[in-house]
Symmetry: C2
Subunit: 723 residues, 2 copies
Amino acid sequence: MMQHRALLHTICYRSGAPFQTNAVLPEITVDIRPAAALPYFTITQTDGKTALRYELARHDRVYGLGEQLGGLNKRGKMYRTYNTDISPHQPHIETLYGSHPFLFITGERGFGFFLDYPSEMMFDISHTHKDILEITIPSQDFDLYLFDVSEPKQIVREYLTLTGSPYIPPKWAFGYQQCRYSYPDAETVQAIATKFRELDIPCDAIGMDIDYMVNYKVFTLDDDKFPKFAEFVAQMKTNGFRLVPILDAGVKVEPGYAIYDEGKANDYFCKDEQGEDFVAAVWPGLCHFPDFLREEVRAWWGKQYRFFTDQGIEGFWNDMNEPAIFYVPEKMKQAREKIYAILSKDDIGRELTEVGDTMELFNRREYFKAFSQRADDGRVVNHDAVHNLYAFDMTRGTAEQLKLAMPGTRYFLLSRGSYAGLHRFSGIWTGDNSSWWEHLEVNIHMLISLNFAGFFYTGADTGGFGAEVSPELMIRWMQLGMFSPLFRNHTWYGSRQQEPWSFDPETTAILRDVLRLRYAMIPYAYSEYMRAVRELRPFIAPLFFEFSGERSQQVEDQFLYGESLMIAPVYTPNARGRFVHLPESRWLRWNASRCEDRAMTVMQPDDYYVSADIHEVPMFLRENRLCVLAEPMSHVHEQPIRKLTVLGFVTNAAEFVYYEDDGASYGYRDGQCAELTIRARKTAAGIEVSCEKCEHGYALQISELACEFYDEHGKQFRSSVTL
Amino acid sequence: MMQHRALLHTICYRSGAPFQTNAVLPEITVDIRPAAALPYFTITQTDGKTALRYELARHDRVYGLGEQLGGLNKRGKMYRTYNTDISPHQPHIETLYGSHPFLFITGERGFGFFLDYPSEMMFDISHTHKDILEITIPSQDFDLYLFDVSEPKQIVREYLTLTGSPYIPPKWAFGYQQCRYSYPDAETVQAIATKFRELDIPCDAIGMDIDYMVNYKVFTLDDDKFPKFAEFVAQMKTNGFRLVPILDAGVKVEPGYAIYDEGKANDYFCKDEQGEDFVAAVWPGLCHFPDFLREEVRAWWGKQYRFFTDQGIEGFWNDMNEPAIFYVPEKMKQAREKIYAILSKDDIGRELTEVGDTMELFNRREYFKAFSQRADDGRVVNHDAVHNLYAFDMTRGTAEQLKLAMPGTRYFLLSRGSYAGLHRFSGIWTGDNSSWWEHLEVNIHMLISLNFAGFFYTGADTGGFGAEVSPELMIRWMQLGMFSPLFRNHTWYGSRQQEPWSFDPETTAILRDVLRLRYAMIPYAYSEYMRAVRELRPFIAPLFFEFSGERSQQVEDQFLYGESLMIAPVYTPNARGRFVHLPESRWLRWNASRCEDRAMTVMQPDDYYVSADIHEVPMFLRENRLCVLAEPMSHVHEQPIRKLTVLGFVTNAAEFVYYEDDGASYGYRDGQCAELTIRARKTAAGIEVSCEKCEHGYALQISELACEFYDEHGKQFRSSVTL
């Protein structure tokens, strides 16, 4: 069997006849061995189930699982992989919208593994037993890919070689997005857009949540709310705003409604136990669910997006695709009867808790066992057995067809549900969090964990979806959102307005500065993002990916943002500073507040309490690294970037590769891009800078560099370069 | 008008004709001025409502509100005072079981105030507006006591002078208590007790949750589950265990049930709008609610505890006394009809959320407006207007009668609901938290905040009530519980066992060490507790009560435990250490793990990352302070303490007053106690120790001191003293 070159350490341990998920790239071939040969784990298979047990050393750390709550080190909690629409995200919740069963262990022995199995698995990571990792799979059919190397960076690289290179969105998607459930009509959207420009607050996109539809029917648009939509879209775009509509997976049962009629006529829907189209309720009421497991259904579905792309839309968010199910009629009937029986008594005490339990109708496991799908090979499979693929296949279908619908233009796509490998097609957002400080902290952990799993383009609802944000939490969350590739402010209809001007004037001013700094950093972020994709290493990485010291292994609340910067977000209320760990090298502290002002301080490796007043973000430039800043713009493509400021902490020699492409097409795949290698070297005379341009079918737009370097004494050296 | 001597800075600003809550001691008289004369605040009164607005300086800090979620500094959140049975304690929750409207501000201007108003008030503390504190009172009848001094310690002293000296429980209540909802019968309780003794794990009490009753009827005991109860209680006590039954506020409507019949016959229950006994459901089903506002009802209720005290019981926990209400029949009928109407449709989409909302029947505000109480002066008041007094008066009645039922023996009493001033009669526990790391952190803040409000005897359900604890969370929480005067492990019937031996053997061993150290520290804790009560200053205090440095003002996750020790609990998963701030003086670091071993290190004031492996608790002994340790015992009164180890960090001179009384009676009030003043002084020759005994009608039981002192170089000096 052919061995893929980059996968020298990956072996697939196969048990039974696993369902082929497509998480792994079809062109990849790896050695396949029987699961019984799996090293490290004790494997027990009885009653059609599998238990994998691994004894952890006292200080081993376990990472991975992508979109999950809890710490970055996953020890101490019970996790599940079963895509679920659930909110609020209380700390004990075991599974969210996506399943990413890729983990790695570091410590006494290091290795990683990807459990390619598309349904529920339990990961008891030191929850029941302090030093035991126990994985339970309700099946004996699965693939376990073992990455038998100890270096986390290399483990991630092998995983991404196996599952594919991360999604690259259009460059405007590195801008800021404003959203709310829902801006009710075009007039409101227009007013929001106008306000951004009036207040000189950068923004590139506005989200359209479910209320734009007619009765929540997917691929419809309410003309009363959004008249002359194509014109409106064009006009918004002229002003630098993309509109991003939401799409739901369920199709309302309603003869005469085109999507329903087509799906019905072509037999595209999932089947219930009687072989009828499966019925369950979501927002529009009773729905059918497209069987995305089939190629023809994916293609049909994906083609529907032309309804929007034909009107100028370039971006979408696929929602409710775990899938979310409110209830199925039969269960509702049972619940109704049980509730009637209890409630018709006149004296109910403790039994009342039963009513509550009975009414917990959302997303019951039994619904997912009550319908089937058909694989492309014709096999009929129970949905439950492939549950975690539903969003994967919906979004795969969307992506494939968007590529065709938008030739030469990168599509923007988010999915709420996901499975390992979806990172090739789309970004994800992390669902319905709450305006809790705790969720700001979780956001940090998730960003890092999702980067491990290849979801470089991701972000949380900045400011929080549920509950009520305070001005200070909004500021601190925007200061983190600033470093999320997906930077979207979104909230629930029941909560206060969260647009940057919805608080007091000082908060507006601080948020404007945050957003201006975000935009100023896009050239750095985009360069580093593209490099991370090329090199298959996390764009946002924990300290232990770069530093080997014992203390660096423990830090969960700081991260590397690209290779030059380390960020220490503030995630507690009323803070005027925070503790940071500065590992191994020296660091140039940069308490960023405005892109125009910088007070830089050289710091030695150690633990510190650093100040961080409400307008300040503790950022640190690594020794002998550079980063670049542009002038902020109102939106990403407002005008070409001609001039960059190069910031550097140069005690010896540093290099940065600035990357540029058109930000819109797939030209970069054919090498239509340009690189500018900027080199700085400390000499007796000062800090010398040299540049090397490399253009391939794309002309670099930068013509000027303003260099601002600091040496180990904090001495500043300024120079400029004309290219 | 007479001015109480200790209250030179307290003035009562009165608006209208406030309901007299009894939060303030009846013997206290203070200057009363019209609310219009209130300084600092802008007061607006319209439509029968009052708004108090205070402009905060950017870095002002706001403390207080007792039992509330959020940070120690309350800025950034919306709070309410309306006693509510609510769980889980999600971060945005605005009110819990107790209302303690005592706050203070420090920063540019410092002062404190107690808003004596027994119903809902809103405290918008920098939530809506970053720099505004806005209090909304739905009334114009209230007393605002202004403590016009800037020193927090003095503000707390004035508040406690006004509202009374904190509750002193029997000394056994400083031991450990094991609880679970529920240990089903005597046999199980016996087995738990036996296990503690077998494993040599100290314990003094076992809680009895609601299932011991007959059909949840208050003041009943199921003889099948607990046969020969008096004998059982006696036998348990012989072995060093107190049993602590729970009592609920609602009285089941059931003719023939003595409590119901008596209450009915004497017209003791709250009245609905038709003048009938108010009916609402709780655990037993439909209930009446004693009108605790009336002296005769309180006395009647309090006398019922004799059912238990006659059988040897010495301690109780009053539950469901906010009061909690599951539903009222009329509302249930309406809800039932609405639900029937929605659920009888066959196609429900978004409407389903209405069903959920309709079924949120628990503790609706309208219930509390639907019944009335009668004040002692005969006035009929709507319950809602005095809602926050219900638990206060129930527990007042309990306390008053327990004093009579247990002459010469201190009663043990906890209440879930509370109002300002209840701290005179009883301790409180902080209700139904969850096994979340977040709630371990909240526990730290609440301990400190409740100490401000005089609730020195308090603690959380250690290990967490809801959700599932992990072994590591159990260990870390027990390491905090160790410093809670009320140290009780309690959990819900749906969660795993939480007794110290319910995990792995290493966890059992660590928890045994934690409990042994707790018991070893009781002589120190009891001495400091009694002194804190005497001096009216928090037993558990934040750093800024003792240290004036800028950094000390910000620390919310460390506390002073008595005057000699500072504790820095670990409250994050997988930690091998934590950051600490060591203020102003030098500190002797003592990573406590077992009471037998100590490795002491001298540390200079600064910020540090200190190690704290899973079995270690970062503790710090303050410069020129002493503390005492005894040999651990299996329960508090196992044997008299004859010997103490004196630990000291002595760079100049230090003094500690060890306090002793019988731990059981009220003799201490008449001075039947003994003090041993231990003095250490550094001289050229070493560290000299001297003692001074002071006995009043009580003979000190200590006869020997083993001194272990350290100087600023970490040099150890050992000596012993025979008394």
